[in-house]
Symmetry: C3
């Protein structure tokens, strides 16, 4: 694996390899000692969760980490950013972990020629791609269920603006899962092949194994959202949550919007924090594979 | 020791243990190697001095350090901050070092249940608590004086807004020191039991062993301060400084306000920098004790 | 070497020592293990390139690095900055790497007396000094050419506001190079002894060995710049670039202003990224020499 840009391009073999390696890191069977690796984190969108998770993964594989503080005045267009990264490559950076509001910029940058080999990991781009989140979600599900191909997942909420939803859909389709999306009409976005769409929570939650709630991406939504209407029809509560459902959420949760506080205190909500925990091992695995591919 | 929230709750035994351990770190008798410990610094108020001191302590005990850059848009109420820290706990953070303008938030957060064990160290909260500063002040005094129980300290200046003053008063009372506070009426704040209050510098400085000047906390004071009046009556100068007095200040000093530049060039002022130096050892001791209590 | 403030004060012996040591680091003949060294980066002007380069050098010599985030509210005058650094010295910092818009502040700070020994490295000050850039430029030239004393360099562009130009001129004069400056009248600045000045590119580029283009320092220029006029007369293009010329630029390049995009795709432009690469080794050498001089 040279870059990690999206889940579309990943083979099931690569996904299983990430799963296995993450599992080895979690069980402390595998250790990595990348003392000669230099990784720069370039977050052009706010992130505490994903960034801290990457930083911990970088520390745990004993790599050197760098914080690129995006300065809006020196970086204004994609072309300049290429020059910056080409310089970082010349300085000796081996990996760029990047988050950006543009859907395709990271992929475009990864296709260019640099002074020295440098790999890109997409830590979230626009409304389309968040492959490390999808991979940690997959890791969390696969640890819990013996098989996934016979399971049904319903993804609930702001599908339209969610890179988490789209990356998960691409990934889980590869493993034959039945995928449902539940959202009000204005948050459903462009329909994706192979996905069943619902607007009624009652119907969508019938015989479901996994419920993945999404954060309402207020920062990406132009029109006014009717939160009362959303809460009434789509909030996950003690009353509508199926007893055995495996409840997930990429975080941060908007408390009492997507999920009621009452549910967040229940045992089901522990999965959400397990996702955060698992993210570190998955990112260690990805970094380790990419550095190994570079001979580091 | 699970958390360090304030000096009230510390036993004299714990304080002496911190003193002894800091002393061992200073003499290089003790070394710590917390390579599996992950410490996140969350400073919601500006700090260079305390933050750099904690960072150096974290490096010197070989822990992994993380910088949480407080983003006002994603963190607005205590509840959300709890969710954030619960996620940091899930990711694998072991200790939160926090500074916050709220007096009680850190204590409240420390009482909650998290995904995995996580300890809180208060690096300054509101106008009430700054336990690591008081402990480093205590360490500095105890290194200098054979006994403290027969000594008199006068704390001078902006007592009302000073968490340093209040944490020191609580701490030093435990060791039987005679404590005086000297301030103009508008900076004296609520009176504390067991403390003698003065408004005349001449009287307060009589037969005193230790003088602890405080920074005027301009950022916390609403009303206009009459600096000329303050300087005339309370500035520590070559003329009013008792020859043998042990002069302290938590820093940063407002030059020529609390202390004249002339005094800052004198040998007495060297104590102020010794306080900064000692802070690293005291923080190493606290971190080491808290990590040991977690089995790390 | 106790401090590195400018290129004026460096002896040719010191410069050659930096060259040799950088070369040993590049060839991995020399390794440094400064685990007890603490280096604080204080950048009061934006910098990604130089800062990342210093950070990588600090990591590669196994020193502890700290990021001082300049807070405009606590640091307002030079005197206060002295107090801050005196505290950093007390805390245990061994080296300050500083960038500042003031020409002479870093030198003035380096002459003061601190609590403990602390060395200053100038990472760019005002419009006059950028010694590490000049040293890495020198390293890049010396690696390429057998001798420098018989070579002619032309420095092109915004000489007036360029600390890179001035530091290079001082340094290269010591090695007997013939130095030309080419710029429109409003960017030529005060003339320096021993330098030949040109306003015509055609004349300046005659029989030249090295061309060093400079970034137009828009942030330092008050008056409006006529970019069309500059591009027409001074842009380095495929047509005016001498075939064998060694093309340099300190970066970041303003594409299609100082140098045409076409030239940036040519083999000649690879030198510019080699400068960035070499900077890490040169900074490792400087840090290593300064730490050794402190007995670290």
């Amino acid at each position: 694996m040279k870059h990690l840009i999206n889940t579309q391009n990943l083979t099931t073999e690569e996904i299983n390899q990430i799963y296995n390696r993450a599992s080895e890191f979690e069980k402390s069977i595998r250790k990595a000692n990348h003392i000669n690796a230099h990784i720069v984190n370039m977050f052009f969108e706010n992130s505490t969760r994903t960034k801290m998770s990457f930083e911990m993964a970088e520390n745990k594989i004993n790599a050197n980490k760098y914080d690129f503080l995006a300065d809006t005045s020196s970086i204004q267009k994609g072309e300049d950013l290429f020059d910056t990264i080409n310089n970082l490559s010349a300085i000796g950076m081996n990996v760029v972990v990047m988050r950006h509001e543009n859907n395709d910029l990271i992929e475009n940058l990864s296709k260019k020629q640099y002074f020295q080999e440098i790999s890109f990991i997409n830590a979230g781009s626009g409304t389309l791609y968040h492959p490390t989140q999808a991979l940690l979600d997959f890791y969390t599900m696969k640890k819990h269920f013996l098989t996934l191909s016979d399971k049904t997942i319903v993804i609930v909420g702001d599908i339209a603006h969610s890179r988490v939803a789209k990356s998960n859909i691409e990934l889980l389709k590869k493993f034959g899962m039945k995928i449902r999306c539940l959202a009000p009409n204005n948050l459903i976005g462009e329909k994706i092949e192979g996905v069943e769409y619902f607007t009624s929570l009652k119907e969508a939650f019938e015989e479901v194994d996994i419920i993945m709630a999404l954060r309402i991406q207020r920062e990406r939504i132009q029109e006014k959202i009717d939160f009362d209407e959303y809460i009434k029809n789509y909030q996950i509560t003690k009353d509508n949550l199926p007893y055995a459902a495996f409840l997930m959420h990429p975080g941060p949760v908007n408390r009492d919007i997507e999920i009621s506080s009452e549910v967040l205190e229940m045992q089901n909500a522990r999965t959400i924090l397990n996702q955060a925990k698992n993210g570190v091992y998955v990112r260690m695995a990805i970094l380790d594979m990419i550095l190994n591919a570079q001979g580091l």
